[in-house]
């Protein structure tokens, strides 16, 4: 069956800004996410300069006052999670890959797809507008606990607080719409012959992430409405003097907040799976096991949330229960990592840049994972909560997710997206220049955190027992490493934009991958497939004996294979 696209060539506005083509929408999300990443990185630069060189003028920013520090850390966290990790991992990769990898011509509902980006863009603009208002952007931390977040007199950013809440709410709506589209397309629009277990893992992961998001966002949406009313309409949902409870917000937030980290983890693991299979020339070890453990992780993620609240005043008996479930969830995730390592074992490893990033993900994420054990046990968490140990732990998970796996995905699919190859040498320089400094940023923070350094404090100067001047060299080292890491990102930016025009032309399948997106031209035309494919096998048929080549694409019929 062939697609016949009969409409006229669209004008520039329609092609780039009003398109319903999933690939263009993916690019919109990708570039918006990349731009927001520059912003999020800049915020980290500013507050780490304050921490490394306290009360000095920060070049390009100015003096970091206490209020500005709070806004910087709030905006860094919010931007990185909601406007970088989610749009790039889920919306950009999901939009680009899903129709191509399941073998159809677009998403099931292209206009809803376009609407979801428009709402997302609006959410980003609302957030950015908070930088222009009196008081500046919200400074109550990305977790927005009331009463701080509910009362303007406390957070000193009353308008920013409401704008932040509206921006997050709009972002949620955008991802609900987008996620439902991905799910329906994957369930219904697959190529003939593509059964459930023939779907590439990255597609499964993005869909499962969307489902987890859909099931966890609801209570927080309800909570956000309540917080909005507390901020603007004198209600007392979270005000204990009026019958409310601040702990309620914490529960509603983390009921979403914990599944959210798996919402971003799953697509990252999916990307790594694709890259590992291609560059080890080996089938994923235990595809079905990976899938079933992912379902287990997805479900378990809903029963661990209160480990973020061990010291908040929850009933200690609840802390027992949540400790157990939290330690339990580390089992399936570890199993998935082991399955990836088993895939690598005995494979024919090609250390191209995407593979370096994928291997980097596995190594760094494991460090993040094991350090989580100390935080998941309520006993040790009592000491470590709100210290830099927590920050180091979640950056050892979030940076692999939002940065390392994203670079794996970009370097892997760049040829397909843009029809050009990235420069390998620059890619490798960028890789080492990111990963090594990354460790130098956060290992000192494990040490300062264990020594007792508290989070969200702009300067320890006023707190004698906190100041620990002997550790200042560690804080400064961390800051300098961040500067180095940020500097190396310019290597990537240069490589990315320079190669758009000057990189060598990429054919349809430069990495010799077996999945469907590599059977179409690079970049794919509108409608994707000149002839819609039929699928005959799973997505990872590599290294099979007796073949002319070392892999068998999904859409090649069996009788076309040599004996």
């Amino acid at each position: 069956m062939s697609t016949e696209v009969q409409h006229a060539e669209p004008g520039i506005f329609h092609k780039y800004f009003f398109s319903t083509d999933h690939k263009m929408i993916a690019m919109q999300y990708l570039f918006t996410g990349m731009a927001m990443a520059l912003l999020g990185g800049f915020f980290a630069y500013a507050f780490r300069m304050q921490l490394g060189f306290p009360n000095q003028h920060v070049p390009g920013y100015g003096i970091v006052t206490p209020g500005k520090y709070n806004a910087l850390v709030t905006m860094h966290g919010s931007v990185m999670i909601f406007w970088v990790a989610m749009p790039v991992l889920i919306a950009a990769f999901g939009n680009f890959l899903i129709p191509l990898m399941v073998g159809c011509d677009d998403m099931a509902f292209p206009r809803i797809n376009r609407l979801s980006y428009q709402i997302f863009l609006l959410s980003a603009l609302v957030l950015l507008s908070s930088f222009l208002v009196k008081g500046g952007p919200f400074g109550g931390a990305w977790t927005a606990y009331p009463p701080l977040s509910a009362v303007g007199a406390y957070n000193l950013t009353p308008i920013g607080a409401t704008l932040w809440l509206l921006a997050v709410a709009l972002e949620f709506v955008a991802f609900l719409l987008g996620g439902i589209n991905f799910t329906v397309t994957t369930m219904n629009s697959r190529a003939p012959g593509m059964k459930m277990y023939d779907i590439p893992l990255v597609v499964w992961m993005i869909v499962l992430a969307s489902i987890i998001f859909m099931c966890s966002a609801g209570p927080l949406i309800a909570g956000a409405v309540m917080l909005l009313f507390d901020q603007t309409m004198s209600t007392g949902f979270f005000d204990p003097t009026r019958g409310g409870d601040p702990l309620l917000w914490q529960h509603l937030f983390w009921f979403f907040g914990h599944p959210e980290v798996y919402v971003v983890l799953l697509p990252a693991m999916g990307i790594v799976a694709e890259v590992v299979a291609v560059f080890a020339r080996k089938k994923i070890f235990g595809y079905k096991t990976v899938l079933y453990t992912t379902w287990a992780v997805g479900f378990l993620s809903f029963v661990v949330w209160a480990h973020h609240q061990f010291v908040a005043g929850i009933d200690p008996r609840m802390a027992n229960i949540f400790s157990i479930t939290t330690l339990l969830i580390s089992v399936p995730i570890t199993e998935m990592i082991f399955l990836y390592i088993a895939t690598l074992y005995g494979g024919s490893i090609h250390l191209d840049t995407p593979m370096l990033w994928a291997l980097g993900f596995i190594a760094e994420f494991m460090i993040g994972g094991v350090t989580g054990i100390f935080l998941g046990s309520s006993g040790t968490d009592i000491y470590l909560h709100d210290t830099y140990f927590v920050i180091a732990h979640f950056h050892y998970t979030f940076v692999p997710i939002a940065i390392i796996a994203v670079y794996a995905g970009i370097t892997f699919w760049y040829p397909k997206m843009f029809g050009r190859m990235l420069n390998e040498t620059l890619g490798k320089i960028h890789f080492w220049g990111t990963v090594i400094p990354f460790n130098v940023i956060f290992i000192p923070l494990f040490i300062t955190g264990t020594a007792g350094d508290q989070r969200r404090v702009y300067s320890y100067a006023q707190f004698a027992e906190q100041s620990r001047p002997a550790l200042q060299h560690l804080r400064t080292t961390s800051t300098i490493a961040l500067l180095v890491m940020l500097a190396f990102q310019f290597v990537f930016l240069f490589n990315f934009f320079w190669s758009l025009r000057n990189g060598p032309s990429a054919g349809p399948n430069p990495w010799r991958s077996a999945t469907l997106e590599w059977t179409v031209p690079s970049p794919p035309p509108h409608g994707n497939f000149a002839e819609l494919p039929t699928v005959y096998r799973g997505p990872y048929e590599y290294g099979l004996p007796g073949l002319a080549d070392d892999f068998l694409p999904q859409s090649v019929p069996d009788q076309a294979v040599g004996d």
Binding site: A150, V151, G152, A153, Y154, P158, C215, S216, P219, D230, Q231, S234, G236, D239, P240, T241, R242, G243, D245, L247, L248, H251, L252, F255, F302, V303, W305, A306, G313, I314, D315, P316, R317, M318, F322
Partner: protein
């Protein structure tokens, strides 16, 4: 594009009549002074009405089986939410903690605004 009828259509007016009857039962029952009667009239009837709407109007029972399972899974997550949050929010004291404003019978209706602008 036209629909291929995938459902058998029962007599919807009859079902509507049952629903209205149940509504009357719930209103009348709620005027009782016996607490259990009120609860059953209010919530028991609500459950029955919801089931009737889901089965007869939404045709959930003819739908693919995983659809009601998905919806039930969502309800299960809400039950988990309730189970995890109610011990802190619903109760006013527990092991080693108390909510003093709540235990004093905090302001219920009207009441001065706090420091909100």
């Amino acid at each position: 594009m036209t629909t291929e009828a995938h459902v058998h259509h029962p007599n919807y007016v009859k079902i509507w009549a049952v629903l209205v009857l149940l509504l009357i039962v719930s209103v009348v029952g709620s005027m009782s002074h016996i607490r259990n009667v009120v609860l059953i009239a209010a919530f028991g009837v609500a459950l029955v009405k919801a089931y009737l709407v889901a089965k007869n109007f939404m045709h959930i029972n003819i739908e693919k089986r995983w659809v009601p399972y998905l919806l039930i899974m969502c309800l299960l997550f809400i039950a988990i939410l309730f189970a995890g949050v109610a011990p802190d929010v619903m109760k006013h004291s527990g092991e080693n903690w108390s909510k003093f404003p709540a235990k004093q019978g905090a302001v219920t209706s009207g009441g001065p605004a706090t420091k909100n602008e």
